[in-house]
Symmetry: C2
Subunit: 359 residues, 2 copies
């Protein structure tokens, strides 16, 4: 058996493997693509992918609204379309690097992807429905059903009304200019730029304007950031900054150790934050002692990752621990070590990658 490197979590359970076998990460070499090809974008299917008949499917908009709506997919397609390029990351990305983590999807670093979503601006639809003055939040209900914490439920999350009215929030029926495939929420999903994936409800069937703060399971218990069991916690929201690099050289099978020849190597990757534009990406080749600034590509969208590159000249043969880290324009940074929390969420500790330079 190959030993886990010092400081690494070494063992995972069958329940975690069952999740990992279902849910799809983005292999990190796919950081080379500005838009993630369909099939490489990360996927977290919380329960099962539901079978949806587009002929009978409707989007219902109700609750505290003046004019409830019931819309077919054709109704939505007949409205003006908007396209937004968005980097989306699972709130559980990095969980597998945490000790004492809960049984859930054990992501390492790869729960991310960037897509060009096409659909109807949510604000336009809400204007048509006439959201009432009493409404404080909008609850988004998907068709995916399961049992969790003893409650049988449909997957549901809410957004404050003012967040829902932001102009780039979409009800998307296209990804990368193709119809949504089943696994990304066919026929319709919510896309909230800058927010972790759990907010971007897939297989959307109902939008309900509510006067009281939503207290469904996925807000109250799951997808909540708690420092300990006594902490009141808060629902997860925007993505913390993170930089990732394309692993350089070639991999060893099955260890995924990296090997590269001597000589200059272009290190490259992408970085994002849900709070502000990426302001800086730095690279270290000595385990975090010294850091050098990488060159940044121009932004491709206010909501998408930003490319970076750094020409690395390894001092000689040997094994190096490469790291990369991002800072956003609001001053948010990445920690060196995971910040523990009950749900194992939002672990944006810097990526560490061991590479061996030889011959």
């Amino acid at each position: 058996m190959t030993e886990a490197p010092a400081g690494e979590v070494a063992e995972f359970s069958l329940v975690e493997l069952q999740q990992a076998a279902r849910n799809h990460g983005m292999p990190l070499e796919a950081l080379r693509y500005e838009l993630t090809p369909v099939g490489l974008h990360y996927l977290l299917i919380h329960y099962d992918i539901p079978a949806v008949d587009p002929a009978s499917w409707r989007l219902e908009v109700g609750g505290e609204v003046a004019r409830p709506l019931s819309l077919t997919l054709d109704d939505l397609r007949a409205r003006p379309v908007r396209h937004v390029t968005v980097t989306m990351e699972c709130a559980g990305n990095g969980r597998a690097r945490m000790e004492r983590r809960p049984l859930s999807q054990p992501w390492l670093h790869e729960a991310v992807g960037t897509a060009r979503w096409g659909g109807v601006p949510l604000a336009d639809l809400l204007t048509d429905a006439g959201v009432g003055e009493r409404a404080r939040e909008l609850v988004f209900t998907g068709l995916d059903r399961g049992l969790e914490g003893g409650e049988e439920q449909e997957f549901e999350r809410s957004l404050p009304v003012e967040e829902a009215l932001a102009q780039d929030v979409l009800l998307a029926y296209e990804i990368n200019d193709q119809p949504l495939p089943p696994q990304h929420g066919f026929p319709l999903r919510l896309v909230v730029p800058g927010w972790y994936g759990m907010t971007n409800v897939k297989w959307l069937s109902r939008i309900t304007a509510v006067a009281d703060p939503f207290s469904g399971y996925q807000h109250r218990r799951a997808y909540r950031f708690w420092l300990d069991e006594d902490d009141e916690g808060r629902p997860l929201g925007r993505m913390q900054p993170r930089a990732l690099m394309v692993p350089p050289g070639v991999p060893e099978f099955p260890s995924r150790r990296r090997l590269l020849p001597q000589g200059p190597t272009l290190l490259e990757g992408r970085a994002w934050s849900g709070f502000a534009e990426i302001a800086e990406v730095e690279v270290s080749d000595d385990g975090g002692e010294n850091w050098r600034a990488a060159d940044l590509d121009p932004p491709i969208s206010p909501w998408a990752w930003r490319g970076w590159r750094y020409e690395w000249k390894p001092p000689g043969e040997g094994t190096y621990e490469l790291r990369c880290r991002a800072t956003d324009a609001a001053g948010n940074e990445q920690p060196d070590e995971p910040a523990w929390n009950v749900g194992g969420y939002a672990n944006n500790a810097v990526q560490r990658l061991s590479v061996t330079v030889a011959g």
Copy 2:
């Protein structure tokens, strides 16, 4: 921590999780699709997905041939196209259910998918090249590179000449009528209907006719069926029969336990074999004591899975172990328990699924 059911492997290593995070299984509810949507088909990326520039890419055909070829993607697209619908399964499917398995990709059941591949019949190209009388095998070389068993290598597998000349063997540049995406082998891959995935070389760059049996790493050591370390073994080839079912009811998160209401439930799924048509699928609801025949759908292709369905009437509330198993027309069956082998390959033991019927 949730306990693993009796008889289940309970712990997995970081190396296995790293593989599981990269490689994509097909969530079993996607058995509902006759053709697996792109993005849900299983993927085993042995090393890294290579970056291929289609403008400079060539397919080279050489070795023991009268007329070596060097073809562009346009050259291939200009030839008559053939479409074949093929079920493809990883030879390592089921490995995670074996004890004393090697460190590799820990598939449970989900390493499968069915696609409509489009491309050039390999036999036509080989006719143009004029395979020499001395040639015994064709070696297929991909652009994916890595280190394995101490050898730096490109992924390579061979086929006997007579297998390569079968009319449905394709050099595919399309999947489900779309251009191949990077992760499925863009710009060109081999598709050998009926064979486990390792034969279907992706990112194909070279076909070499050879006079001696190929002894590359992926034949000699990996992807080989050995009963023990002293066994000479044999390269893996055709897919053993297997039936899988869509898990009925709804899942619990994160355990994936299934819950369903009382009353009749349609159990359905698909079954395949690389040796012959599926002749029978049977279902058990008592852990394999009694078996009932399922109804079979008409075949959709000589090389694709066959749908099956069975109306199950649970005798009452309680927890049941459902199983399904397939037999092919050549008499190949599925064992009840994994048949151990060094590489953890071809484990087609029957699927077992625990479901709880309540209220």
